[in-house]
């Protein structure tokens, strides 16, 4: 077991985000929703480290409180596609045949459309809001997980330890769930952690477009969208939430990278 530098840096970044999401009030110096008409669009200062927005709300406090929403987006935008896609991939990889042919055409259909366009289409139909974002992302995002899982299952199913299980008379569920799944799931889980970085970007993009988290909820993408109108006069309003997105994305990427090394199956 070798813990890499990238895993350490990644987990520190994610740890900070987790703590901010768990107990934002411990760190946020101000109420994220409280207006202060005496301090509108103030630049960063000793009192407001990251400045204030056009309503006098403290940008640092809003970024800290937004961590909870963005973390939720990162987890839910990955976990539902992971479970759905993983289950589909497991069955398709094991049974193959007609199921695989149908699966292949379905995948072709979904990947024909750019990911974001398809997600926006679903959200537009369902209506804006985080729950609908999760539904939309699940409808589109299961594909890479299913493809990855299918390929892994097909490789594992050909291995001799699976043959040994069959020779020992093990039933299909035991072989599939106890032997193949744990071996096939590892690369998929590593991909999932890396995918959370993209999920944060996606959640922020949708927030920016007004399709994700709705104001006044603080969400990094929404914060950038709010700040863009004041970018020439008060750049801190958009800059610091952007920095938070970059750091969170970096945290997930590095962690995924480190996990890939750590979880690599030794043969």
């Amino acid at each position: 077991m070798r813990v890499s530098i990238s895993l350490i840096i990644g987990s520190v970044l994610l740890g900070a985000m987790l703590i901010a999401a768990a107990v934002p009030d411990w760190f946020a110096p101000f109420d994220p929703l409280a207006f202060d008409y005496d301090a509108l669009s103030m630049p960063p200062s000793g009192e407001h480290w990251f400045g204030t927005d056009q309503f006098g709300r403290d940008v640092l406090s809003r970024i800290i409180h937004a961590a909870r929403v963005d973390l939720q987006i990162a987890v839910f935008c990955v976990i539902f596609p992971l479970v759905l896609g993983g289950a589909i991939g497991l069955l398709v990889g094991w049974y193959g045949g007609i199921l695989d042919a149908v699966f292949g055409r379905l995948v072709d259909l979904v990947v024909t459309f750019p990911f974001l366009v398809l997600v926006i289409f679903f959200v537009a139909v369902l209506g804006p809001g985080l729950v609908n974002v999760y539904i939309a992302v699940t409808c589109v995002g299961w594909v890479p997980y299913a493809k990855l899982m299918r390929a892994e299952v097909m490789v594992q199913a050909q291995s001799d330890y699976v043959a040994a299980g069959k020779v020992l008379g093990y039933q299909m569920p035991r072989i599939l769930l106890r032997h193949i799944l744990p071996n096939a799931a590892r690369p998929v889980l590593v991909y999932a952690v890396t995918d959370m970085a993209l999920a944060i970007l996606l959640g922020s993009s949708l927030g920016y477009l007004g399709l994700g988290a709705q104001p006044p909820t603080a969400e990094w993408g929404v914060l950038i969208a709010d700040g863009k109108n004041f970018f020439t006069t008060a750049p801190w309003m958009a800059l610091f939430p952007g920095l938070a997105i970059v750091l969170a994305g970096l945290g997930f990427s590095l962690t995924g990278d480190g996990l890939a090394d750590l979880l690599a199956v030794k043969r």
């Binding site: 291995s159 001799d160 330890y161 043959a163 040994a164 069959k166 020779v167 020992l168 008379g169 093990y170 035991r174 106890r178 032997h179 744990p182 071996n183 199956v265 030794k266 043969r267």
Partner: protein
């Protein structure tokens, strides 16, 4: 002598892939003829060797015998009962009696399961011992293959190839089978380790009264380990006889060529001529008649027309050659 396991006219073909153009031209789907009409009795207590070149169908035969591949036609019978007709408990019973040792010690163990878990699982599924006694039985099994008790807590990647092969043997022995099919169990190992595994198998065979089917392309191992040997060529058995007699006086020209190909230490014994001409034909398109005739030194006109069946032909053991009379 009682017959334990039987192959009865086993045929196994694997359909190949064909491209769109071939489909449009209605070219028939290519078929790999892995096994054609294999009939073989395995007697209780014996060690039967199966030899042949790579690609002759040895491994397919092994996998059919243990129930990994259902045959296209023909039957595998254990103590007279057809494997294809078994269901539920009977199938589980068959798997308990007929076990397999695999060629690749690196792929044949689940890399995520500890050795103890791998062995316990086999014990638990087949209810070999009561739950409380499983741990003790795992230690016994490890001792049987000369591994220390603390091996149970470790994962396969912590072991060498030879040690892993021992674990594979312990897993096969866990369910107390009557017969073990060993598919090239030592060909992936270093020569120094090969001897250890072979000796372990011989020791276990004597101690447990095992019936062994030993599949290999190593003729020295066959001579060392087996009482009877079946020689395979392109999916068929061409000769089947007592090992000592067959090595002393091979009847089939292919067997003769194989034996001549064994490296000799005595200079005077070294043959100068090539043992066998040409390459193994593709099992996608086996030659007509006797499959060996294009490479055979004594082939006659009739050999390329009809297929010789495996029968005694006035000799002491069956051979599939028209020219092996008497």
């Amino acid at each position: 002598m009682t017959i334990l396991l039987q192959a009865e006219a086993l045929t196994k073909h694997f359909p190949g892939r064909r491209g769109l153009i071939d489909m449009a031209r209605r070219t028939p789907r290519p078929v790999v003829r892995a096994l054609t009409g294999i009939t073989l009795d395995i007697r209780a207590g014996e060690t039967l060797g199966i030899v042949g070149e790579s690609g002759c169908g040895k491994s397919t035969l092994a996998r059919c015998l243990v129930g990994l591949h259902p045959p296209d036609s023909g039957a595998v019978r254990f103590e007279g009962a057809d494997l294809a007709g078994m269901s539920g408990g009977d199938t589980l019973g068959f798997h308990r009696q007929v076990q397999m040792i695999f060629q690749d010690p690196y792929g044949s163990l689940n890399p995520l399961m500890s050795v103890g878990d791998t062995l316990s699982e086999a014990l638990a599924v087949h209810n070999i011992v009561p739950k409380a006694a499983i741990a003790a039985r795992v230690t016994e099994l490890l001792a049987m293959v000369h591994l220390p008790p603390d091996a149970a807590g470790r994962r396969p990647h912590e072991f060498s190839g030879g040690q892993r092969q021992r674990i594979g043997i312990a897993r096969a022995l866990a369910v107390e089978p009557k017969i073990i099919v060993a598919d090239e169990p030592v060909s992936a190992l270093d020569v120094s380790v090969q001897a250890q595994i072979v000796n372990l198998l011989l020791e276990l065979r004597a101690r447990l009264g095992l019936t062994l089917v030993f599949i290999t392309h190593d003729l020295r191992l066959v001579r060392h380990m087996t009482q009877r040997v079946a020689v395979m060529y392109l999916g068929r058995i061409v000769e089947l006889g007592p090992t000592a007699d067959l090595f002393a006086a091979p009847r089939h020209p292919y067997t003769r060529a194989l034996l001549r190909a064994v490296p000799q230490l005595t200079p005077g014994m070294r043959g100068r001529d090539a043992a066998v001409r040409g390459e193994l034909p593709s099992p996608l398109a086996p030659p007509p008649g006797c499959a060996f005739h294009p490479r055979c030194g004594i082939a006659e006109a009739g050999c390329s027309v009809s297929v010789p069946v495996l029968s005694e032909r006035n000799g002491d053991w069956p051979v599939a050659c028209f020219l092996a009379e008497g």
